[in-house]
């Protein structure tokens, strides 16, 4: 049951009706049951995995509360982290490690492989769960005594499968001090859902067709123009796909009275890779900062340690996305760029200058190059495409003219949002302005939304 299918909207309407009509004490049960049902629509068996991890982390946190002695608290923390990383490692990385071991031992690459199905959303809910247990250990988070509340935090359906990664303190603040969303919040939530659908179906899926065709067989599309247009198509696909999903998740949660953090802030307008990571998948980058980069020492032990920590954090961040050397290189590439920018003294700046459009374009190009590793099927394909980006004949652009105009229009809207915040102001605008915006979004969705077989969200595979 994907977010952009009619079945999901029917499901959401039922949940909404029950949530707002049943007595308040029942609503947590309703949301939890709905969340498990939502997950079971993908694979019923794997709900047991979520329940098991929930039980382990819940028990670990309760144990920490009962036994204040630091060594035993640490044991509880280690047990919890081992369980989360163990499950994550087995489902996500076993075959990667087995393949590398086989390669080292000169065995066939599938010699030790197992047929493993990756549970949907495991990377997100384990990170969310770990952040809770670590915060409890650090004394930054109250222990949640009600198992239903904790289970709901882990499984809450708007963000279960692809985030944003919500911190426990934010979620429980909403849950325990829940108040019905006001009209403005409902209008904003609805706007986000429609806008997210538009991003996913009208833009991401349009560019998915181009990117899929290019990455499936790069040799069939000769020339550097074809290569750049194929790679940029994927840059656009992954942004509009993931941010579209996130917008919908934030919007759906807001309609239910929950407030998720912003996850994307126009990342392709970043003027440096440092700034890019402050705008892209913000809930992951802040998670990596708080639970990996800073514990590693952050920037507290001199320049070289800082560079090492940056690269290590980004390497692990890359590996979090997927079990392959491509993701490791993708992470390492970003870590190296972040370090280089530190060396060059590039810092995030508030004000824009005349040279900034060039910086934006350059940063976008650097980010797009990284997506080659993210999207290509193999390392060999990645290297082949990289060569193609900078050599050979020009070939031809894989896009249709109208797609180019459409992206330019999206760019103008992004720049206007950056300067004037028009999108955030829409719910408060006069009724006819708000209604016109929704009507135009729906009309675009109707005309250029991809209406074939539902294309899954890219980040569902993580």
């Amino acid at each position: 049951m994907l977010f952009h299918t009619p079945q999901f909207f029917a499901f959401f309407l039922v949940v909404l009706a029950l949530f707002y009509t049943l007595p308040r004490p029942a609503t947590r049960w309703i949301l939890l049951a709905a969340s498990y049902f939502f997950y079971m629509c993908w694979n019923a068996k794997f709900v047991l995995l979520i329940i098991a991890l929930t039980a382990i982390d819940y028990t670990a946190a309760m144990w920490m509360r009962r036994i204040p002695a630091s060594r035993k608290r640490k044991a509880a923390l280690v047990m919890s982290l081992s369980a989360n990383l163990g499950f994550l490692g087995f489902f996500k990385y076993y075959n990667f490690l087995a393949g590398n071991l086989a390669w080292v031992l000169s065995q066939p690459l599938d010699a030790f492989a197992l047929h493993i199905i990756l549970p949907m959303g495991i990377s997100f809910h384990t990170f969310q769960s770990m952040s809770y247990v670590i915060d409890v250990y650090r004394g930054q988070q109250e222990v949640i005594a009600d198992p239903v509340d904790y289970a709901l935090y882990i499984a809450f359906f708007p963000q279960l499968v692809a985030g944003p990664i919500v911190r426990a303190r934010h979620f429980f603040a909403d849950l325990y001090h829940w108040r019905a969303p006001d009209a403005r919040e409902i209008l904003r939530g609805t706007l986000l859902v429609v806008f997210g659908l538009l991003k996913k179906l009208a833009i991401a899926d349009q560019f998915a067709r181009i990117a899929d065709a290019f990455f499936r067989d790069p040799a069939a599309h000769p020339g550097w123009l074809a290569a750049w247009s194929g790679v940029i198509a994927f840059s656009l696909q992954i942004f509009f796909d993931f941010s579209g999903y996130t917008d919908m998740a934030i919007g759906l949660a807001q309609i239910l009275g929950f407030h998720f953090p912003e996850n994307f802030r126009r990342p392709y307008l970043a003027r440096s890779i440092t700034e890019f990571w402050r705008r892209w998948h913000i809930s992951l980058s802040t998670w990596l900062r708080d639970y990996l980069y800073i514990p590693l020492g952050g920037n507290r032990h001199g320049r070289w340690h800082t560079y090492r920590n940056l690269i290590l954090t980004m390497l692990l961040g890359g590996l979090w996305h997927g079990a392959s050397w491509n993701f490791v290189i993708w992470g390492g590439y970003h870590g190296a760029l972040l370090s280089l920018e530190r060396v060059a003294g590039i810092r995030e700046r508030q004000h824009w200058s005349l040279a900034d459009p060039v910086r934006v374009a350059f940063t976008f190009a650097l980010a797009s190059i990284s997506w080659v590793f993210f999207r290509a099927a193999t390392l060999r394909d990645s290297l082949h495409i990289l060569r193609r980006l900078f050599s050979g004949s020009h070939g031809h652009i894989l896009w249709l003219h109208w797609q180019l105009w459409f992206v330019l229009a999206a760019l103008v809207l992004a720049v206007l949002e950056e300067s004037y915040g028009w999108f955030e102001r829409l719910p408060e605008a006069p009724a006819w302005v708000y209604a016109s915006a929704i009507a135009v979004f729906l009309f675009c969705l109707e005309l250029i939304g991809f209406s074939g077989r539902a294309v899954p969200f890219v980040y569902f595979q993580f």
């Binding site: 707002y20 009209a183 403005r184 209008l187 719910p427 009507a439 135009v440 109707e446």
Partner: protein
């Protein structure tokens, strides 16, 4: 959940948004502008072209005869109209390849909204029995053809005519959300707007002449022979392999079974056409087409209770003799398994025009 505050009213804003959305959709797709620039070679575009030609065909002092049907309707109006002086009939056609009785109902509504334009409407059939392999009731291609013709008021009848929920949803889309139904066409328009506009303009300028003077397959199956005992067919050398297979299937396979579902479908849509014209002066003439390039040696017994025979028995239609065009079931008059060729079309049109003229003549005399 506070839906209404002093500054915001959720239902009002969302209601207004929906209203504006439907207004945009209607402005773009229900005013006739977009239909005029549909891709001429698409299903809906081709159908629109046929209807456009027929709507613009001047109605003179002759009796007006219109033909519905699919690509197998071998009536060449240019040939039939050569006999107008003798028959007193002017022929028009909205026989569009791939269309079915459900399409004909909406097409006739479009070209003859008052049910008063035609003296006779010709309805060609492959068989007077309700025989079909295909479940025409659930044929989603009809939706592609009919999108430009469907109105909001058609929603219950059109949608419920599909048995499957998937096609009902698809049909509802075509009625309510025109933009969604035209999505592929619109995106192809965006890919080359100027080319499309120019193509549509050219098509509109010349479509009557192109369709009216179209030359069908000139080659024939002359020389083919069938050994019914050995179940083998010998075919002319020029035929492509897929055409050969089609002919072998058409001749050697068992005829389709009598289908209760198909009978229901015919009663529903042919009945709806007849009901619409009830009380008008239009006569309906049903005919059995030349079916194959050879007459099969054995024919299954006729079903006296078939839909069209019941219509004829009730006096609602004129049923031409079932074997009237059997003489045209000859290899030299066919271009493939199912379609008459240029010569076959010529002979069929002459025969049909003469017969229709004869049938309508007494009616005129009685006026």
């Amino acid at each position: 959940m506070a839906l209404v505050t002093r500054r915001f009213s959720v239902p009002a804003r969302l209601g207004l948004a929906l209203l504006l959305f439907f207004a945009l959709d209607a402005l773009a797709f229900r005013t006739g502008w977009y239909v005029s620039i549909l891709e001429p070679n698409s299903t809906a575009g081709a159908l629109e072209a046929y209807l456009d030609i027929e709507e613009q065909r001047p109605v003179g002092r002759y009796r007006q005869v219109l033909s519905v049907g699919d690509s197998r309707m071998g009536l060449k109006t240019r040939v039939a109209n050569l006999l107008t002086g003798n028959t007193g009939c002017a022929f028009g056609t909205i026989s569009v390849p791939g269309t079915t009785p459900r399409c004909w109902y909406y097409m006739l509504r479009e070209v003859d909204p008052g049910c008063d334009r035609y003296d006779a409407i010709l309805v060609p059939l492959d068989s007077y029995d309700d025989r079909s392999w295909e479940n025409q009731a659930d044929r989603d291609l009809d939706i592609s053809y009919l999108t430009p013709l469907l109105r909001v008021a058609d929603l219950p009848r059109f949608v419920l005519s599909y048995p499957s929920w998937a096609n009902r949803a698809h049909a509802a889309e075509a009625v309510l959300l025109k933009g969604l139904a035209y999505q592929h066409d619109f995106q192809s328009f965006l890919a080359g707007p100027l080319t499309r506009l120019e193509g549509a303009r050219l098509h509109e300028e010349h479509e009557r002449e192109w369709y009216y003077n179209a030359v069908w397959e000139r080659r024939s199956l002359a020389g083919m022979s069938v050994d019914w005992n050995a179940k083998t067919v010998t075919l002319p050398a020029w035929l492509e392999p897929d055409k050969r297979r089609e002919i072998e299937h058409a001749l050697l396979d068992d005829p389709p079974p009598i289908s209760a579902g198909f009978a229901r479908y015919r009663r529903q849509w042919l009945g709806a056409i007849l009901d619409r014209y009830r009380g008008s002066h239009t006569r309906f003439i049903f005919l059995r087409l030349p079916r194959r390039p050879v007459v099969r040696p054995e024919t299954p017994p006729a079903d006296p209770s078939s839909t069209v025979r019941q219509f004829a028995a009730a006096g609602r239609i004129v049923l031409l003799p079932e074997h009237m065009f059997d003489s045209l079931e000859r290899p030299d008059l066919f271009g493939d398994a199912l379609h008459v060729n240029e010569e076959g079309g010529y002979q069929f049109s002459m025969m049909l025009a003469g017969e229709v003229g004869r049938l309508l003549a007494p009616a005129q005399g009685a006026r």
